[in-house]
Amino acid sequence: MIDELFDDKLKDLELKADQARQLLIETLLEAGSGHSAGPLDMADVFIAFYFHILNHDPKNPDWPDRDRLVLSNGHICPIRYVTMAMAGYFPLEELKTLRKINSRLQGHPHRTALPGLETTSGPLGEGLSQAIGIALAAKLDKKSYYTYVITGDGELNEGNIWEAAMFAGKLKLNNLIAIVDRNNIQIDGFTEDVMPLEPLRAKFEAFNWHVLEVDAHNIRSIIDKIREAHSIYEKPTLIIAHSTPGMGVDFMEKDFHWHGKPPNKEEAKKALDELRTLQGKIMSEHK
């Protein structure tokens, strides 16, 4: 069960999302390599998960009854690391070690390196299958936790995704909820130029999924859609989360060149100045 969301909690979550974006920019600057656009655009989703949706215990990351959050597009892990640190899985200070030697924060997430990551990911298209395995184990063990998986949209090019989509549809896995970061970009350009995904909703519906759509920057809507997905008993649910790549940093937004690079010092300063004045602006834009 997901708690009711009151206005003061919502405001707190929005401020946290802003803080997460600032920490993200600082973390990427310190790391000197990594991805910017995807982590920025998933900030609201990750904050909604770690601070409202997930049934979890940061001090007991292996708790067997926890909800599982699988990250399939591992390259956006900096935003996961940031929100995990904010939630208390590890000290914020450790974010400075991202991508450096002897760090638990690998460039792409490694399950055995850091408690709380459910899988190892990076090579694309493999997260949905792993989430199916975890959801299937819940059925076998008669456990009631949910398995959530976040995927990119570009990674839906991978054949493995469609093998997995067919299988989840076959199993009618109602404890599995996939969220696609529909930011319309991938490394070589816009998704509809590189390899068109549309009609994406119809594709998953044809694979026997229940499909919902949401504004990935509206935390109340994100939580509402997850709640709605919980009420779907006969199918797995896919939520197409429409996002703006680079969300929150004007000069990064909607520019696929920011998919795979970090900001330099001047760019980071500009981004932080912008983010520090944002303070809840993202939701109000959608009113």
Binding site: T119, G122, I132, L136, A137, D141
Partner: protein
């Protein structure tokens, strides 16, 4: 002579020796595991009967998952099951798994340290008439290069069952290699089996060379050793059922007096059993070696016994290799 302490099949050289495919051992072993461990689950990519996984499926339908023809999905679903405490066995033809889904296994099972057992069937040119597309002759090479994995290659169906059962006793991922056709039963239920231990199946006084063989090809090696002995040319024959971890102490012991090595496998000579032993000997005790296997080529369709002869992997070739390597000492 056959090593009496190993309680081997006394009919191993007889024309009426019991014949059974090693893959039958997988089916029997998996069934046994299903009966004794509720965490064992099995996944199939539309080949349940070929891999003998159907024996498990019939008995434990609630723990059997038919994935369809999707080997990447099979591997990653198994990884998800494993990190949640299950012990999944995935099975298909070795060219497809761990062939086609190699990177998926690398990331989600091996690097991820997920307790998944990968059963590769129809290995080697013994897959015969199906042709090279279905003859896995690189699977040992592509799995042996991974950290965090164990690799078992049983010589007959009885050892196949023991190896399957043994694979569940470790939390490491394991690659299990099985072959299709019926081959001679060389061991018995009483023959000891221990992961990581080589066994000298054929022993003799004053051996001139050591033959290390893996899988069903061990029978060719034993026949070669028997004939060589009758020709006054004694050799040792060692069964290597565990390719990884390699029994380094065993290699030293079994080559200590012979100082010449022939390796025998139904696999490319690159990166398999021969490669593993050569890597070890090169850094500890360099010895002349000859390699029986597929010599940097693909094979073709045909009856497997004919292919073994055409590609110079049979008894005659093994005997020639023994003489050649002995002359190089």
């Amino acid at each position: 002579m056959l090593n009496p302490t190993l309680k081997l099949n006394s009919k191993v050289f007889d024309s009426d020796v019991e014949l059974k495919p090693t893959r039958a051992g997988f089916g029997e072993g998996l069934l046994h595991l299903g009966e004794t461990n509720p965490n064992i689950v099995a996944l199939s990519a539309d080949l349940a009967e070929s891999t003998y996984a159907h024996l498990f499926a019939e008995k434990f339908p609630e723990r059997f998952f038919e994935i369809g023809i999707g080997e990447q999905n099979m591997a990653a679903v198994a990884a998800g099951l494993a990190v949640t405490g299950k012990i999944p066995f995935i099975s298909s033809y070795a060219t497809f798994s761990p062939g086609k889904n190699w990177e998926t296994i690398r990331t989600t099972i091996i690097y991820n340290q997920a307790n998944v057992k990968i059963a590769g069937h129809h290995a080697g040119i013994m897959t015969g008439p199906d042709g090279s597309t279905h003859q896995a002759t690189e699977d040992i090479a592509i799995t042996r290069c991974w950290p965090n994995i164990e690799i078992y290659v049983p010589c007959d169906a009885i050892e196949g069952k023991k190896a399957t059962i043994a694979s569940a006793a470790t939390t490491s991922p394991v690659y299990l290699r099985y072959t299709r056709d019926k081959t001679p039963t060389m061991t018995t239920d009483e023959t000891p089996f221990e992961v990581g231990k080589m066994q000298d199946f054929w022993i003799t006084d004053n051996p001139q060379a050591t033959i290390f063989a893996t899988g069903y090809m061990l029978h060719y090696a034993l026949v070669a050793a028997k004939e060589l002995e009758e020709e006054g040319f004694p050799v040792l024959v060692v069964n290597v059922a565990t390719i990884k971890p390699l029994d380094e102490e065993g290699i030293m012991r079994f080559t200590g007096h012979t100082k010449a090595v022939v390796t025998v496998e139904d696999h490319q000579v690159m990166g398999g059993l021969g490669g593993a032993i050569a890597e070890f000997l090169a850094k500890t005790n360099p010895l002349p070696m000859e390699f029986i296997g597929l010599q940097n080529t693909f094979a073709e369709s045909g009856a497997w016994k004919e292919l073994i002869e055409k590609y110079n992997m049979g008894t005659k070739s093994i005997k020639e290799a023994v003489k050649k390597v002995t002359a190089r000492k």
